[in-house]
């Protein structure tokens, strides 16, 4: 049985006036049915672009998917027709976005937006769709759902809007939910509620989830497997336990070290020296090498490929691959 989603050699770039920005470079991963995959990385590492590429939601132009395949239910999402893709979007793959303030249409009632996926994808009467909308709002914990559904987005708080987004994404019972930093724009107290809600809905519906985040803390309690991205590439992939306890890439290690929780009070916080590389230039060798404390001369010369060094645990670090470097 093939995996639910199989991404192979995805390359996405943006053709701007200042050159070609290679936002995603040769990204491959599989996602099983019901699995939870985390994608972490700093801003600009290509984690969101990866997911938008899979849904073909990047603005084209300037964006362009240069190469790759994303097989989902026997269909290549990257090369199928728009019409075919529209049948999958919102029906079998749903998305929720970072900012619930701007992701809901301020000119339309919540009801119209919430039930829209049903009206688009299913043969259903308006009244029946509204009924399911209200049930869905109940399920995601919006109180007084029958009245609230008649209101406009600006009458909802940020957390409540994200609940509406989740209800809207899940109303068609999709096989895959892509959550692009769903908690970043929310208060810390609300963040945990929203993550719990996604977890709860995942258990009920049995869907797979891709969670994009720059927060290792958010991902750690949530995901079966995590891809760490850097400069548009996956640099390490494994279970949460693998990444935390048996780190195989210096970048992942540096990310751990930067977490404030792990540092004694009063000492200066650890930061990774230098800046992420400019992805509009061709990168030879390992993109992290200039900032890496373990880098040796061949790191900046030799081509880098993701390799499995332990079962289901891959790394792009050349030294780990060649010398079995202990981190």
């Amino acid at each position: 049985m093939p995996p639910l989603l199989q991404v192979e050699n995805l390359h996405t770039s943006f053709h701007t006036r200042h050159g070609i920005v290679r936002a995603v470079h040769d990204v491959s991963f599989d996602l099983e049915k019901g699995e939870t995959l985390g994608i972490v990385g700093e801003s600009g590492s290509g984690k969101s672009v990866t997911c938008y590429s899979i849904m073909r939601l990047i603005p084209q132009p300037p964006g362009r998917i240069e190469k790759g395949r994303a097989m989902f239910g026997g269909v290549d999402l990257l090369s199928c027709s728009e019409e075919q893709l529209r049948k999958i979007r919102g029906k079998r793959i749903s998305m929720i976005f970072q900012d619930p303030m701007t992701s809901l249409n301020p000119y339309l009632k919540v009801e119209d937006q919430l039930i829209e996926p049903l009206l688009i994808h299913e043969e259903i009467s308006h009244a029946a769709a509204v009924k399911r909308g209200i049930e869905m709002l109940d399920a995601v914990g919006v109180p007084a759902s029958a009245e609230r559904i008649k209101q406009y987005p600006h009458q909802f708080s940020g957390g409540m809007r994200q609940r509406v987004m989740i209800a809207m994404a899940l109303i068609t019972k999709p096989d895959l939910l892509i959550a692009d930093e769903p908690t970043t724009a929310l208060d810390v107290t609300v963040q945990a509620q929203i993550l719990d809600l996604i977890k709860k809905m995942q258990k009920e519906l049995g869907m797979a989830v891709i969670l994009i985040s720059h927060d290792l803390g958010v991902v750690s309690g949530f995901c079966d497997r995590v891809n760490v991205m850097y400069a548009g590439r996956v640099v390490e992939s494994g279970t949460m336990h693998d990444l935390f306890q048996r780190t195989k890439h210096p970048y992942t290690r540096a990310l751990h070290k930067s977490r404030p929780v792990f540092q004694p009070k009063g000492t200066e916080l650890y930061t990774i020296p230098g800046m992420p590389p400019d992805v509009s230039k061709q990168i030879v060798g390992c993109p992290f090498a200039p900032r890496c404390e373990f880098a040796v001369d061949y790191c900046t010369r030799e081509p880098v490929l993701l390799k499995e060094v332990e079962p289901k645990h891959t790394t792009a670090c050349l030294r780990v691959q060649k010398e079995g470097l202990k981190l």
């Binding site: 849904m55 939601l57 529209r86 049948k87 999958i88 979007r89 919102g90 029906k91 749903s94 998305m95 976005f97 900012d99 701007t102 992701s103 809901l104 249409n105 301020p106 000119y107 339309l108 009632k109 119209d112 937006q113 829209e116 996926p117 688009i120 994808h121 406009y152 600006h154 009458q155 987004m165 809207m168």
Partner: protein, 306 residues
């Protein structure tokens, strides 16, 4: 909502007062009078004429009388230029013509303008954007007194599809409506493109795409409401301008509309006619702006709670 409309209607009263007073004293301050052009008017006859139209009374009293009759009976007085015609009758006879021409022109403006604007906004910076937008730029730059003769030359004298002028047959509506409507169409096209582009780049459009909405659905259901807000604001004054007729277009095509009175009545020092047309036009503009505000509140739910 009801209180909002009622308040705005009450606000019309002082505005109309100020406009009428300013117009009244300005036309009376202008040199000459309604009878100063006519040949050989003897002082006695002039005195009688002035007495008949009440022009011999003090200015303030004249204004008071005028306003009293206008408010009390809706009577805008007799025209001082067209004997035996009242201003009400003149407006009543010519406004329907301007109204019809205006409606056709509005139709032209909306169909061409919205169509071109939406098409341009869907694929910005491609040929389907550049072509309608450069046409719109030309439409804004071409004055009606150039466009009118151009259309006559092409469609009336060249192709013989329509009459060059007149207002007798249904086909006589085409050229004036195009001439009058194209400028507004061009303006609406640019406003539509701008408004739509802004909306189409919003996050919630991406949400709609992620839901599997078709491009048609995205435009009609998600983008139009917000994208047309700038057009709606423009439509208030535009509709008032279209419906009351245009001096230039009516003169070019010899259309017996209201537009020509705006200019000729001022030249003739036809005091009551100037007042009548100004008050009529002002009332129309204020009312249409009110309609625009109501439509905007309906389009933009956020305004409803402010």
């Amino acid at each position: 909502m009801f209180r909002f409309i009622a308040r705005r209607l009450l606000e019309m009263i002082p505005v109309l007062f100020i406009i009428s007073a300013a117009t009244f004293f300005m036309v009376h301050a202008a040199p000459g009078g309604p009878f100063s052009r006519e040949k050989k008017v003897s002082p006695e006859i002039l005195k009688q004429l002035n007495a008949f139209y009440g022009l011999d009374k003090p200015l303030l009293q004249q204004y008071g009388n005028y306003i009293w009759k206008a408010v009390r009976h809706g009577d805008l007085g007799p025209s001082t230029k067209y004997a035996n015609w009242s201003v009400n009758e003149l407006i009543g006879a010519s406004f329907p013509v301007s109204l019809e021409l205006g409606c056709w022109a509005l139709l032209v403006a909306l169909i061409l303008g919205l169509g071109a604007g939406i098409v341009a906004s869907l694929r910005p910076n491609t040929a389907s954007d550049y072509i309608p937008m450069s046409l719109a730029m030309a439409g804004i730059c071409l004055p009606t007194f150039v466009l009118g003769p151009l259309l006559i030359g092409l469609f009336a004298l060249g192709l013989h599809w329509y009459n060059a002028l007149g207002w007798d047959f249904a086909s006589d509506r085409v050229l004036p409506a195009l001439t009058l409507g194209i400028f507004y169409a061009a303006y609406i096209a640019r406003l539509t493109r701008g408004g739509m582009l802004e909306i189409l780049n919003q996050d919630f459009i991406r949400t709609a795409r992620a839901k599997g909405a078709s491009p048609w659905r995205i435009v009609t259901k998600h983008a139009l409401k917000g994208g047309l807000l700038p057009v709606v604001s423009f439509l208030g004054p535009a509709v008032a301008g279209l419906l009351t007729g245009s001096f230039v277009v009516e003169t070019i095509f010899q259309v017996p509309g209201l537009g020509k009175f705006f200019v000729t009545s001022a030249f003739n020092r036809d005091y009551t006619m100037v007042m009548g047309t100004v008050i009529f036009y002002a009332t129309l503009i204020i009312s249409l702006n009110l309609v625009v505000d109501v439509v905007q509140v309906w389009l933009n739910p956020k305004l409803r709670f402010e």
